[in-house]
Symmetry: C2
Subunit: 421 residues, 2 copies
């Protein structure tokens, strides 16, 4: 692969200790990838100078070094000092930048009624720019810094608060001094195949039979709640494109019935869109998932025109009283049964007044399993104007996984019902 | 601080490209910290052998190298091969481990009706263990690996799926071969304070007034969905303990009314426990959260004796037909109003036959806001045998944040109702 390499350095003690999840690394990685860089590493370090210095020393060896955090006004914000040391340049005072930051800080001082002297040392610190580098803009009083490096390479340092980082990123990459590096990157092609109901090993063996990775095509195969996500990253050029075509065709030929999408939208979005296209409303009856199916569907903005609501029927009393599951069905077959799942879906359709309803009932564990109904047994039913579709599986894992997979299966069952598979 | 240094290496192309957010690094960092290690760096790399090799070469220089991912059966799962190269040991075939993995894979083959030959190459690959290392257990067919290193150091490699990693982690650190490194770490004391309904800056200023960090006490203050999580990490020794006592007392004195917990159990667990102790059943009526409140409550094993169910009343038709919200309430005050929230909670209590019900209705956005009812406005109501409690807030952020915070608020409202606050 000939993509210029990007190394991301994220600093924050709460991040390296796992007390907060880093969002800047993933954001910058997606941005770099879209520009044609290969995000090769994300290094998360705390504010200990030796750890940050080591990470930056490695970072500046990449074609593009992206740094998040450590640009604040206090003494433990050392990113620029250590970046300069890693790049072998001086940190210089920028009087024009200081004037701008001072203006903002005097505004703060006025609003808070504190003397400007409180802010002055921080202002001087934040007005330091690496020699040969540029302040590309300000977020609050923190500048975004672009530092061109020898060999058409560059480092960009941005403030840690995600909204400030996102605000300054476009200014950094639009700066004229970034253009030489940008010209080295070619935006790669990307192809996406999403399968459901086929094993990861089987997809991997189809892929291996088609020749595997190489020649400008990188493939990742990733299992996620019974979905198999196949991503092809394709270098520019005829040869790579032809190879990607062959791999894609081999996968489609072998697993055409399991293909459910060729883009990255999650299943809840596909379900909502298919319902919308058919003019159908949707509802859910959930037992072991406890609301996760509704939660996923309503995570999509604008879902309210399709998804009208759901019944979380966790207790049998609710299955009977709200969904109208007959007492004899519960008595004869139990709450976790194909019969109860069917009655739940029909009940939800009626009670919620929806065109299509899907139900889930299962044993999520860790307790509550039996020989007849082990932990990991889940029954599903989807019912619509054209008929119904039932499914069940037993995959004993942990409670969280069983519930998450059950939610995914319920959504795929609706897709299958409406696709007439 | 003299804590042994931990370096975490997380592998996954989808992680380094920002297509998925890494959860294993933060989990392992928190675990390492709790054992007395200092999480010094998290390196996230893809499955390119050169990048993974470089990260592992650095990783094995730390006292503890924790590796996540790349243990699967496919060609691009190269963690053990490269870990062995970094540590200078051979990768050996383990016939006993192969027999165990084969047993599991034959079970898969039977259930899926596929020939075992499809699985055989993956089984052979997953039965490789570094010389001098140990398979500490299996998650599915993926082993967790412990590799002791010279100088009472160690590397631990675990599968990438978070639930598998979490399942194997306790087995790795309980292995006798990990004991020498564990003895080098001194488990720090840990104190936890959880506040709700007070600002992060106010807690931070109380903490600063009490003397701040130092003298063997490290404090992190972290805001999470309106909760303020304060964690004290306390080095062994009398001096640090006394200092931690002073900080703890200052925080308790200033914010006693906002304290809701002194341990790490999530709010859903506290709510279920309080209901259980009072012999009360619980239900929910959700609009903008779409099932997330039920989803959180049912994430807790054994929740079924307290939580009977919920109504996801996303559409007004469902609010009226299922929850019995009067048409005139909806017409006069709108779906997002204190009046509708109250009627939803009362309806849920009646329809679900529960002692306590909580409701949520709001504008999660990004569309659907108005001057009267802006994006980020959410109304809540909790009703129980002793009365009702209403709440509302307007905090315009993004859809996901609004929904997550609304779910947390609903749970805290139940806690407040039952605590008589």
């Amino acid at each position: 692969m000939s993509r210029p390499r990007a190394h991301l350095v994220v600093t924050g003690s709460e991040l390296v200790r796992g007390e907060r999840t880093d969002l800047n690394g993933p954001f910058l990685a997606r941005q770099a990838l879209a520009l044609g860089f290969e995000p090769a590493r994300i290094s998360i370090v705390g504010d200990r100078p030796d750890e940050l210095a080591a990470a930056l020393a490695e970072g500046v060896r990449a074609d593009l070094c992206l740094v998040s955090g450590g640009l604040g006004p206090t003494h433990d914000d050392r990113t620029l000092e250590l970046l300069c040391r890693a790049a072998g340049v001086e940190l210089m005072h920028d009087p024009e930048l200081e004037a701008r930051i001072e203006g903002i800080s005097r505004g703060y001082a006025e609003r808070t009624g504190r003397p400007y002297a409180v802010y002055a040392p921080g202002v001087r610190k934040q007005a330091l720019v690496p020699a040969g580098g540029f302040a590309v803009g300000l977020a609050g009083t923190a500048p975004g810094i672009l530092l061109p490096l020898p060999g058409d390479r560059a480092a960009i340092a941005l403030p840690g608060p995600p909204n400030e980082l996102k605000a300054l990123w476009p200014k950094a990459i639009a700066h004229p001094a970034f253009a030489p590096l940008l010209r080295r990157a070619e935006v790669p092609g990307r192809r996406v195949l999403r399968f459901y109901g086929v094993g990861e090993s089987l997809v991997a063996s189809t892929f291996a039979d088609a020749g595997g990775d190489g020649d400008g095509v990188e493939v990742t195969i990733c299992a996620r709640d019974f979905e198999i996500h196949v991503d092809l990253v394709v270098e520019p050029g005829e040869q790579a494109r032809a190879r990607a075509d062959r791999i894609e065709q081999a996968l489609l030929a072998a697993h055409s019935e399991q293909l459910f999408s060729r883009d990255e939208r999650p299943i809840e979005e596909l379900v909502l869109e298919l319902c919308r296209a058919r003019g159908l409303t949707l509802g859910a009856a959930e037992s072991c998932t406890g609301g996760l199916v509704g939660g996923r569907l309503t995570s999509v903005p604008g879902s309210s025109d399709v998804f009208l609501g759901g019944i979380v029927a966790y207790a049998n009393t609710v299955k009977a009283a709200v969904l109208g599951v007959p007492a004899e069905t519960l008595a004869a077959h139990g709450a976790v049964s194909a019969e109860t799942a069917a009655a739940m879906a029909q009940g939800a359709r009626r009670v919620l007044g929806v065109d299509v309803a899907v139900s889930v009932t299962g044993v999520a564990g860790p307790g509550g399993g039996s020989d007849d109904r082990p932990v990991g047994l889940v029954h599903f039913n989807a019912v619509g104007p054209g008929g119904a579709l039932a499914q069940s599986w037993v995959v004993p894992t942990d409670r969280e996984t069983i519930r998450r997979r059950a939610g995914a299966t319920a959504l795929h069952l609706v897709l299958q019902l409406l696709s007439g598979v």
